[in-house]
Subunit: 465 residues, 2 copies
């Protein structure tokens, strides 16, 4: 029990939870493309090197999502049936981390937006539900996707169950066997889950022919899911991060948080999120960046990534493939090279070689800051958080916790009354093996070497810019 005083918010509040009634659910998603000084370069067709057209994408995505991928409209209406599912867990709570503040003896006020109350336990259902809805509206009967540890697959399985769609998940084989619980969760929601590589697709059969014992990879699983969608007219493909429409759907996070902070008279000095493909980070940060881009506020925005997968802090902005196999359209993004093989860090959701083109451009233009942490410092922060605030963060989200604690300590050292907002994008209930390894002293830090990035990028085919 700390005697460190609780500092009231500007409105005089010392409330811990700032809850919104479901009537306060945002009715529109915010599209940051409307306010960016420079838009991202367009995706290119891998065969022609020309910008991808809506027709190119039609075999695997519904028309409405292709439109959302390309639009610069500022606000996109959220359809009523999507809101209806959002109400199953949204608005999510915004908490003030009073007990963490006291433990740190910081004059900063720390807030966090908690997305772990969703059925799947992370922010991922925000877009899964929207994608399932639009696909169902356009007559699609089944969605195919890939998943690594299972965060995204379980979100899509949940969403498909809500709209009566079938769901096929290609789960990386090694995770399928090592992490059976998220697989079970997908099956509870009715999804069909295959250990990838499978013999169901040409891509899978090719891999199995060459190496029958392949443990699989996210790259292989993507190829299988895309092929499944492209070869079945009633089936589309669904992706959980990176793309513009995915980040768009996630902006409900930041829109709610902005509203909740306003209720206690607050506006953040800094907004912090962990970044893998960028959907959690963009979802939280874009509605605040909007204020900055429109000249209303001077908020700082900080993306946090692992030193083991330092896409923003060590990668380069250029065209690269979205998948390991090199089959997808070329995206203009910060990348470590699509041949990047991440070391076995435990924040599976942050192991992607690239970063959303929207975030990449904003970072290049100096509108977003970035910082990388080694995993032990991240778990240390997660445990300090769990012991003060109670909740167990997902290892991904714990990167944001680490940065928030460091910012709060700096505020103490500098005697500044800063307002810190971070995203707690999910709970760690399926990640206790990683906590176990940390507590047993079995985790090692790893800095991905810049030379490997240079080599991987040098090996890329010649491409514009």
């Amino acid at each position: 029990m700390s005697s460190y005083p609780v500092r009231p918010s500007p409105s005089g509040s010392t409330a811990r939870a700032i809850v919104l009634d479901e009537r306060a659910l945002p009715r529109r998603w915010y599209n940051v493309a409307a306010d960016m000084p420079r838009l991202p370069e367009p995706p290119l067709h891998p065969a022609t090197g020309k910008p991808v057209t809506p027709e190119d994408l039609a075999p695997i995505f519904p028309r409405s999502l292709i439109e959302q991928e390309m639009t610069t409209e500022r606000w996109i209406e959220i359809p009523e049936p999507v809101l209806d599912i959002y109400r199953l867990w949204r608005p999510t709570p915004l908490y003030r981390a009073i007990r963490l503040e006291q433990a740190l003896r910081t004059p900063a006020r720390i807030y966090y937006k908690y997305e772990g109350t969703s059925p799947a336990g992370s922010h991922k259902p925000n877009t899964a539900v929207a994608q399932a809805y639009y696909n169902q509206q356009e007559g699609i009967r089944r969605l195919a996707t890939e998943t690594g540890a299972g965060q995204w697959g379980s979100a899509l399985a949940f969403a498909c169950a809500q709209f009566g769609l079938a769901c096929t998940v290609y789960m990386v084989k090694v995770s399928y066997h090592q992490k059976p619980y998220r697989r079970s969760l997908m099956q509870v929601w009715g999804a069909e889950v295959h250990a990838s590589p499978t013999s169901l697709t040409q891509a899978g059969r090719k891999v199995l022919a060459e190496s029958p014992d392949s443990p699989g990879s996210l790259g292989i699983a993507i190829s299988e899911a895309v092929e499944d969608a492209a070869t079945h007219p009633d089936t589309n493909y669904s992706l959980g991060s990176v793309l513009n429409h995915v980040l768009l759907h996630q902006t409900v996070i930041g829109l709610e948080a902005r509203e909740q902070l306003a209720l206690v008279g607050e506006y953040p000095d800094v907004v912090i999120g962990c970044v893998g493909g960028g959907s959690n980070f963009g979802g939280l940060a874009f509605p605040f960046l909007m204020d900055r881009l429109q000249g209303r506020r001077q908020v700082e925005v900080l993306a946090v990534e692992p030193t083991a997968c330092p896409t923003l802090t060590k990668g380069k902005l250029r065209y690269d493939f979205g998948d390991t196999a090199g089959l997808t359209p070329l995206l203009h993004m910060y990348t470590l090279g699509h041949t990047f093989v991440p070391p076995g860090i435990h924040a599976g959701g942050l192991r992607y070689h690239g970063d959303s083109p929207l975030i990449s451009r904003l970072y290049e233009d100096g509108l977003i800051g970035a910082r990388a942490y080694p995993q032990r410092a991240v778990f240390e922060a997660a445990i300090q958080f769990a012991r003060t605030e109670g909740l167990l963060p997902a290892p991904e989200s714990a990167h944001a916790v680490r940065a928030a604690i460091d910012e709060a300590v700096r505020a103490r050292e500098e005697g500044l009354e800063r307002v810190i907002l971070f995203g707690l994008s999910g709970h760690g209930h399926f990640d206790l093996g990683a906590y176990d390894a940390y507590l047993a002293g079995q985790l090692e830090d790893y800095e991905y070497p810049a030379e490997l990035v240079e080599q991987a990028l040098a090996a890329l085919p010649e491409l514009p810019r």
Copy 2:
């Protein structure tokens, strides 16, 4: 997507979530003993057969909890520091199960109180926090307890972390090895977790001497924890269910639910909860029973248990030991006999041989109803719930889901617009192995035979009543 109409509540609401501001947190616990037509018989000292005195309990419990165990005061003030921790997750949400209603095409309105948002994922912290507080106030430095699968141990570990107490958990050895994740969770919160039997206590050493490979049992773990507390002056013992003060602390659940239902103009026709030792059930039901006992309302109250451990539906009311080893005070309760060995059903929290004396007396007096379900019907209900409402129920809580669905179907068949409230006492994120077994068709139903109860009770020593 069902087109079945959503029926507004009496206040005209079709809201899904009924959330309370933290200012609406109950300030007092409700003590049902104040309103019972007949009090339970007192606990007896196992050696003397005389009612247990406060002095008998002082070596392992703090004075304030002993007082709460024995009082008939109607309302007990919740101390401010306990409220302060409750605010980490309370008030918990009350949801209306609109999508489940639609799937069932029932005219009933179904509400559920969700306790899975607590840090430990169940209702258990409601009492763990209070117990940690009172112990710390009386100068205790450490709490010892037992845990089976880990629900209670993790709740107490969390609570101790909040008050700077050390926490020692004796975890049944077979669970310690088979379910390492809840163990990790306890360690994240700073608890010391031992696989019981240990060589740290006389009780443990005795077991190990006789059978070095003992898988442990809850009975052994209780003996170890009690001995640890009794032999260390700075250490007390803490129990997660059955006792009066435990149920008292849980009444925040029902008090909040009553308030939340009133916000939409509702009062339940039936309140449903799963029952193991009784803390979840009592916590939800007692504040509604209060209305009935005080003559204000005619609410029906239904306790749900597994057919594999049918304490209320097949057990007998009589004095029996609280633990398997026969060392605790004798409690007057419905029991299957303390030698009961539960078959391997997956709802670990419902495998206790006895039932809280308060609930036992209320059941005997016809104020509570009871029903038992086999486990496959329970998992079937859990999956229907997960696919419509999203959340994954703990297998214990799924017993209440089963009964609520059956009540809603009956309402449809009888054309009755009933209001059903049930308790969703925890999430199933640590129980996916059980879901997996169900989906794979590996679960079997089991009816505990009445003859075994007769035999076990006949073997009990001669005791009053």
